[in-house]
């Protein structure tokens, strides 16, 4: 903000107290309200169960790099839900809109809702783009993208960024999809590959009975995979297979991974317990497989959090008493004073949190 505006803003704060000037400005336009928000400009149906939302953020937006994700806050039945979605458009500057692509996943409350009800004009809450699943700066090494299902979205962003910026790149893209109907961005990918001389390979695992990812297949399709900087994004099975293969070749440093869904393993159902929230004095009964973040939210608290999948450390809370179960590994741990990721940890017995 320029120095001329600052005294004016301060004056506005004195007039609007105890609210904010934004509390009144949003009567004119919801985008002028407090915090980072965006308006859906356009909804494009990509497949039967996937939509792209082009979102125009307000002036607080700091831009996104291709491959990053953005957290969207969506009000459903009056309740706000936050979910991360990968940016499927290329790089976006501070004044640019961006696009996320949302596939309705089984039992996915928010993704299903967005697929049914997202409309142009709707205003969503946003967080700044985040994530390290991005292209390196400077001269590009040879690249290999391995994607499956909606794991294509961040990679689509990177491909579009390469095309838009005209950066020279040697690209091999290996994509797995069950069938043609759910094969996202098929046309775009073909077009970009043709225009830029990239290799774009699609395996239709259900309709054509194509093989899933395996070492031999990779060797056949992309013999120089060892020389490439690799990116993988898709369901857990693919992530595990690819990282194991790179691990055995001692090349993990050359592999970038993006989990696009919380990788909560089905841990042998353990007992939960009573969760007490130290500061607020609230308490709730919690099942042994329910993330503490959700328990806290249902108890009416608003804990800080980020990815909701155990990767960003945005939700660390000090454990006061008791032990927790890490839902990604099943491990039970915890001593008073430990910082735990409440988005992927559940109560293992009675727990007190510093919330």
């Amino acid at each position: 903000m320029t120095s001329v505006l600052r005294p004016l803003t301060r004056f506005g704060h004195w007039l609007a107290t105890p609210l904010l000037p934004e509390s009144y400005l949003e009567l004119i336009d919801p985008l002028l309200g407090a915090g980072l928000r965006g308006r859906i400009e356009q909804v494009v149906r990509e497949s039967e169960d996937a939509v792209s939302l082009e979102i125009r953020p307000n002036s607080r937006w700091q831009g996104a790099r291709a491959g990053q994700y953005v957290r969207l806050g969506v009000d459903i039945d009056g309740v706000r839900h936050w979910r991360c979605y990968s940016v499927s458009s290329g790089d976006a500057g501070r004044d640019d809109s961006f696009t996320v692509t949302v596939r309705a996943i089984d039992g996915g409350h928010v993704s299903t809702w967005l697929n049914h009800y997202a409309r142009a004009g709707m205003v969503l809450m946003l967080d700044q783009a985040a994530g390290e699943f991005v292209l390196p700066s400077g001269e590009l090494p040879k690249l290999l993208f391995i994607t499956a299902g909606s794991g294509i979205t961040p990679v689509m962003g990177m491909l579009r960024s390469l095309a838009a910026t005209g950066r020279e790149a040697d690209v091999v893209h290996l994509h797995y999809s069950p069938d043609e109907a759910s094969n996202l961005f098929a046309g775009d990918r073909r077009g970009l590959a043709l225009a830029h001389g990239w290799t774009s390979l699609t395996r239709l695992t259900r309709s054509h009975g194509d093989q899933h990812f395996c070492a031999d297949q990779l060797q056949a399709l992309c013999p120089d995979w060892r020389d490439r900087l690799a990116y993988v994004c898709g369901p857990q099975a693919l992530m595990d297979a690819v990282s194991a293969h790179w691990d055995s070749a001692d090349l993990v440093a050359r592999l970038k991974q993006e989990n696009f869904r919380p990788a909560l393993k089905t841990v042998a159902a353990g007992a939960g317990g009573e969760v007490r929230f130290w500061h607020s004095g609230r308490a709730a009964e919690a099942a042994g497989d329910k993330p503490l973040l959700e328990v806290a939210e249902q108890a009416g608290l608003l804990p800080k959090h980020g990815c909701r999948m155990g990767i960003c450390q945005g939700c660390l809370v000090t454990l006061k008493e008791g032990q927790v179960r890490d839902l990604t590994t099943g491990e039970i741990f915890g001593e008073a004073g430990d910082m735990v990721r409440i988005c992927v940890c559940a109560a293992a017995g009675n727990v007190t949190l510093d919330l």
């Binding site: 004056f11 004195w14 007039l15 107290t17 105890p18 609210l19 509390s23 009144y24 009567l27 309200g33 407090a34 009000d75 039945d77 009056g78 309740v79 706000r80 839900h81 607020s280 939210e297 009416g300 608290l301 608003l302």
Partner: protein, 378 residues
Amino acid sequence: MTASLNLDKKMLAAARARRLPVDLTDEQVQQFGAEIEALRKRIMDSLGEKDARYIRRMIKTQRYLEIGGRGLLFAGILPPAWLAGTAMLGVAKILENMEIGHNVIHGQWDWMRDPEIHSSKWEWDNVCPSDQWQHSHNYMHHKWTNVVGMDRDVGYGILRMSERQPWHPAYLAQPVTNALLATFFQWGVALHDVEFERVLKGEKSFREAWGQLKHIGKKVRKQVIKDYVLFPLLAGPFFLPVLAGNITANLIRNLWAYMIIFCGHFPDGVEDFLPEDIENEDKAHWYLRQLLGSANIEGGPLMHIMSGNLSHQMEHHLFPDMPSNRYAEAAKEVRAICQKYGLPYNSKPLHRQFGSVLAKVMRLSLPNRAPKQAMVSA
């Protein structure tokens, strides 16, 4: 119930049934509690889009009213504009404090997970800081409702509102004290949680009270600068009409809030309690005490909205974190449940409730005339 006390359950139950002035067995009280709990669950489970729309629309309406009122006051040199502007601003402040602020701070809208309408974030347009209010009101008053000596809202530490509070000659001035409290209600509310009487008795450290006072001072500064300096200055030559309008709007809000709140717990027929009445109190008995210790105001939708739905004080005390727009629905069922168990349902028009409050203020400024018919428990 504290299991470790290892008291005979039947004895306890008998003792409890005697303490509350109702003719119910312990079993009946438990059934009553279960029905109230079931009602609560049914309504809370049905919250959704419509409720969210209600509070958002209420907040929007309030902000338009405030802007409109302040705008009209800039033309306040014209008497009709001054009157309309002052009235609009007064109504805006009432809505903000009562239907929005009080209820948001109770956590009635926390289920929406919108940080802008959340009990942990809301700061209301009032000199009392929200966090101190949360302590004195949500905790002290709502948990210990009408327990003389524990609920400081029984007389607010300055009035004698129960026969069970010992009389003192200072209470002779009660009619005046009461009028002053009504006029400066927001200031009374702000200083309430400082608990001067406990500081004087040495039960609370001066240091703690001073910390609270500094916190209040910060809020006061902002509120006073806004209403009594900046907006009048912005009006330039019309400084005085705007200042007078703002003072009047705050006064309207003070008097109205005072009246509604006093009608909640002080009218005839509302019971008060002693600390020993609530020993070993369980949820069902807590519900019963909330019901017996509160009173409703009869009226239409406008009355309910303008009172922040404290016209449903009984439902508010049973379900302090239920969104206020649902109290009317809950009230029908609570009334039916009361009928079923032969419990009083104290709901009368404003003039009757407030009339009996004023009579009590007068009556209790004097010592108890004849010993009140002793409660069985006394």
